[in-house]
Symmetry: C2
Subunit: 499 residues, 2 copies
């Protein structure tokens, strides 16, 4: 028996997380600059890291160490106790699923993702259905194993991988109210927009190098530190790396600079969260981001709440105009603000505005809970998808490419992830309102491109807490309320109906 089981656990998790950080950096490299011929070798490297981490996590000695650490619980500080709780949660997730099933899932999702890459452009759901069935069956099996280990329902056990401590009961309530509110508010927003002259699009081309320069300038304004990170190009934008070395990526469209710039600002929100995590707890579970909902709240707070505001448009408009040498009414701050807040029901989630976005997520949540519960068969998925779109947004996808084939998530085995997008949007509204209530000067500061006080508030109230508390407690302490939709609804009302 080790004399200090808790600190032995810290040592082991530190090693596991250092290895997994190495894997993260290699994933970034693969997405940004690896030559195509490096793919096979890279898979071997990533597999070796992942198998090694899994073996360290499932080492039989771990159970003994957890037992010992719980026996010394009264000697632990608050942070240590929280770390022990999070270590245990990660360990339960890792050990709940037998190695055989982990491997089966890995192989099945690889096969399914490949099939999906062919089926999507062909808009052929039947082609990928058997692969998705295999992934669904195995995911359900893993979910059952995790449910037993964590004493949760199957769906909640899957959700817990992405948003620890949250439940489908909470989501049902919140999404239920959102689903009733949306068909009431959306037509009014659309009607109001149609009554106005449409905003003008600045005319390109917008050279990639200039967009990148502008992106960097805005990232710095928001608070990104280039001594601790980089901006590069990838097919799908993401924020990778580690808290002290954050790797943001974007993609450029020379006919429209706003998509890259808003993407960069979104990823900067993710990066600021990671950067602000408690430095004393690097590579420990309690030092990690709390969950995907809070993570998304930080990207949406920066992008949607702060940077798509009328105030930020006033800061950005002259800088963007100077960067691209444009002129005329299209570059007017109010015009750019109206462009950044256009609402239009569309088939594709990733292109959706903040008003219609929740509908996309609610639809996926309904479908994935039914699939996991076995209440719906994959045969019925395409039709159920299209009916849901009609009911929630009043549009029906003409083909599955624009319907149930659009997102990689399920085909990659990620069930329980979708809700965090909208939970994040709600939390973003709550946090931004609380920050501006505490510091009423924030909107005026955004007009000058000064994010310092907003960032300081987020550092204290969100980032610096890591995983010491659960999402609801973090929100309650910061805003006075648990996660709910009322502030988000108020924000939509203000921006799209009153403003």
């Amino acid at each position: 028996m080790t004399t200090h089981p808790y600190s032995e656990l810290e040592t082991r998790f530190s090693r596991i997380n250092a290895l997994s950080e190495a894997g993260g950096m290699l994933n970034w490299d693969m997405a940004t600059l690896m030559p195509s011929g490096g793919a096979a070798a890279r898979s071997e490297q990533l597999a070796a890291i992942s198998v090694t981490c899994h073996q360290m996590m499932t080492d039989p000695k771990m159970a003994e160490l957890f037992e010992g650490a719980h026996a010394e619980a009264d000697r632990l500080t608050g942070w240590q106790a929280a770390n022990l709780r999070e270590m245990r949660r990660q360990w339960l997730h890792a050990t709940a699923v037998p190695e055989r099933l982990v491997e089966q899932i890995s192989r099945a999702t690889n096969r399914c993702e490949l099939a999906w890459r062919e089926a999507r452009p062909a808009s052929d759901f039947q082609q990928v259905k058997p692969y998705l069935q295999e992934v669904l069956d195995l995911t359900r099996e893993a979910g059952q194993a995790k449910a037993q280990a964590l004493d949760l329902s199957v769906y909640d056990a899957l959700l817990d991988q992405f948003e620890p401590g949250f439940s489908s009961r909470r989501i049902d309530e919140i999404f239920g109210r959102l689903a009733r509110w949306l068909p009431e508010v959306l037509p009014r927003v659309l009607e109001r927009q149609r009554a106005q002259r449409p905003p003008e699009r600045p005319e390109g081309p917008f050279p990639q190098a200039k967009q990148e320069q502008l992106g960097r300038r805005l990232m710095q304004a928001v608070g990104f530190d280039f001594d601790h990170g980089r901006l590069d190009v990838s097919l799908h934008p993401f924020c990778g790396g580690v808290p002290d070395d954050l790797r943001i990526t974007t993609r450029y469209d020379e006919s429209d600079f706003t998509s890259a710039i808003m993407g960069v600002l979104h990823e900067t929100g993710h990066a600021l969260y990671e950067r602000g995590l408690p430095a004393d707890w690097r590579r420990q579970p309690v030092g990690e981001a709390r969950g995907m909902a809070l993570h998304e709240s930080q990207s949406l707070l920066v992008e949607m709440q702060a940077c798509r505001s009328a105030e930020f448009s006033q800061f950005m408009a002259p800088i963007a105009q100077e960067a691209f040498g444009g002129g005329g009414a299209a570059w007017d701050p109010h015009n750019l603000y109206r462009l950044a807040t256009q609402v239009e029901p569309d088939f594709i989630r990733v292109d959706a505005d903040e008003v219609t976005y929740p509908a996309h997520v609610i639809l996926r949540y309904r479908l994935e809970t039914a699939l996991i519960a076995g209440d719906m068969s994959l045969d019925d998925l395409p039709a159920a998808w299209n009916e849901g779109m009609q009911q929630l947004l009043g549009i029906t996808p003409p083909e599955d490419r624009l319907g149930c084939l659009q997102d990689i998530h399920w085909f990659d085995g990620a069930f329980g992830y979708f809700p965090t997008y909208t939970l994040g949007a709600l939390a973003a509204a709550q946090l931004f309102e609380a920050a501006t209530t505490a510091h009423p000067e924030i909107p005026e500061q955004l007009r000058r491109g000064d994010f310092t006080p907003l960032l300081a508030w987020l550092r204290t109230n969100v980032h610096g807490l890591g995983s010491a508390l659960d999402t609801d407690t973090i929100l309650e302490r910061a805003t006075g309320a648990k996660l709910d939709e009322t502030v988000f609804q108020r924000h939509i009302q203000r921006r799209y109906l009153d403003g």
Copy 2:
């Protein structure tokens, strides 16, 4: 007991090497594009990889597996048997040194390297001496442990880490003859050069982007495949990555394009060796490059033998002239060839031409064997260095910055490495002569920038053999002779005295 101990060993080495490849990629990232603030996290990632690999290598079950594998030796193919031999060699190196000593060496070399980074610009050997003493003492201790495990002398055990199977007895003979030949040939080379009009230097500036473009063009001519590699910038040029994803770096001087271009061609030689290693044996010891002497032979064959030739100058001159838009006598191929083969005794090894380079290496070899044997104290190192330079090249460094403080190797714990530079130069001459004897059209092909037949010969006779044979056997099969200096001497005679 495992039923197939040999294949269990293959599985384990494959995992160890995949992890160590991951570490290699992270080292490349650190040297090329990591932001400064990422250093501490990166150290943790690299340390976790290295500790994990070391633990896997020293797992007590390994001894049992080797025993079992030797028992089934008669059922192994030739390549498997060679792989087993190389696995065992690596395992003996890893297990010979106790964990405590590995850690002490790692810490001591870190400290010493930091001290050296301050002492070198200050030209203050006394400042770094105590740190170097610690590194030397620990290296000697590790060398003794390895000597016992490998049944070699202490210096040969250190040499075996870089050039397996070679011995100081062989080096003494070869370097002894070179040291007698050099003072005889160098004055004649210098005299002949002084009798000619000095070559003209093309006038810059040479913009970095143009140099890079030219570098890529020449890399492709030599045979580098950009689907399996990249060219980037770092402070110290190197060839990193893995055989299917090779990462070459260089640095640019806008007042002189030849240093970057020749550097790129040198690293391309290293890359071609890695790329040509037997694909069926990826991540297995027998699939690795044979040793540092053969590795250096491949970079020097490309740079010194092929690309600093009169023939290649004829290919490169018009391309370079076009790239930089230059004109006049300086861009004449013969002038560029004379520039690429200028000889001048100098204090700094890395700037040395191919005629004086062996003197630098012989000096370091004499000094490091004396230090390891305990025949010389560090107090006497600076004076011994300067005397050696005077004796071998007729110049005395005015300060230690240009003398015994110039190279990082010893301060980083690398004793036994230096000889491989010159062994590589000798092997390069042997291999190039053998290739051109087998294919007399090679020089004419180089004139057209066609490396295909030369590369094919190297693939068959060197690259594709991996570590299946030892260096001497590879050379003997390819050239008819073991490693020796006669062909190198003939090459110097032809290029610098007869040509």
